[in-house]
């Protein structure tokens, strides 16, 4: 059982809590258990193609899982995961500026 801490804008989807206990032997399995328990979160974490949205960051015991084994990173009993979004946006896609 791992503990996942979740950022403020997503807490309404987990009954207002800041942390939940989840099952899973990898980061992916833990996130899948999160979606199983709180299915309304799915469209905000995954695109319609089933890909994790670009703003989703996952830290395992304070380390970005991108620097570990990504979503396949093993999760042990009592590990702490944090799901936190990057915040981004901007005024337009077109024009001469980079996208």
């Amino acid at each position: 059982m791992a503990v996942l801490r979740i950022s403020t804008p997503l807490r309404p989807y987990i009954n207002g809590k800041s942390e939940v206990e989840l099952q899973g032997e990898t980061v992916l399995e833990v996130v899948e258990d999160l979606i199983l328990q709180y299915p309304a979160l799915r469209p905000h974490l995954f695109s319609s193609e089933g890909k994790l949205r670009a703003f989703v960051n996952l830290f395992l015991n304070d380390q970005d899982v991108r620097n570990l084994q990504g979503m396949e990173t093993p999760v042990k009993e009592n590990d702490r995961l944090v799901l936190v979004p990057s915040i981004a946006g901007g005024s337009r896609r077109d024009g001469c500026f980079p996208n």
Binding site: G90, R92, N99
Partner: protein, 150 residues
Amino acid sequence: MKIPVHILEQIDQWMERAYPEEGAGFLLGHDHPEREVEAVLALPNTREEAARRNRYLIGAQEMLEAEREAERLNLDVIGVYHSHPDHPSQPSAYDLEWALPWFSYLIIRVSDGRADGVQSWRLREDRGGFAEEPLDRVEAGGSRLLDATV
């Protein structure tokens, strides 16, 4: 959403200072009994320099730190503000792609270096677009202006 006039004025000044680049930061406050901004936290735009005229980015670490700061003040991070230099204060397709539910997205139009329009938006639950959130400008209220850009 209730927001003190002096906070709006401060955000305008910060967004004018960032012009012609986009500026951004967090809105701190509470959601009950009604959504109200009580503090603002200005943050650096961490996109690469060439992209800052039409993009902003606040990284995950800054988000975590903002949540810690909000907790310290007994508040929540309730939204994000950012500017649209020489562009309307309406969300773009890129804003939609990156939008989080529940947050208020305050967008400030800055025309030729002058902040001259503001609107607030909330992501619709189906992620198909935004609904405009009325702004209730109040004279009194929050006084914490936290500038982490300098």
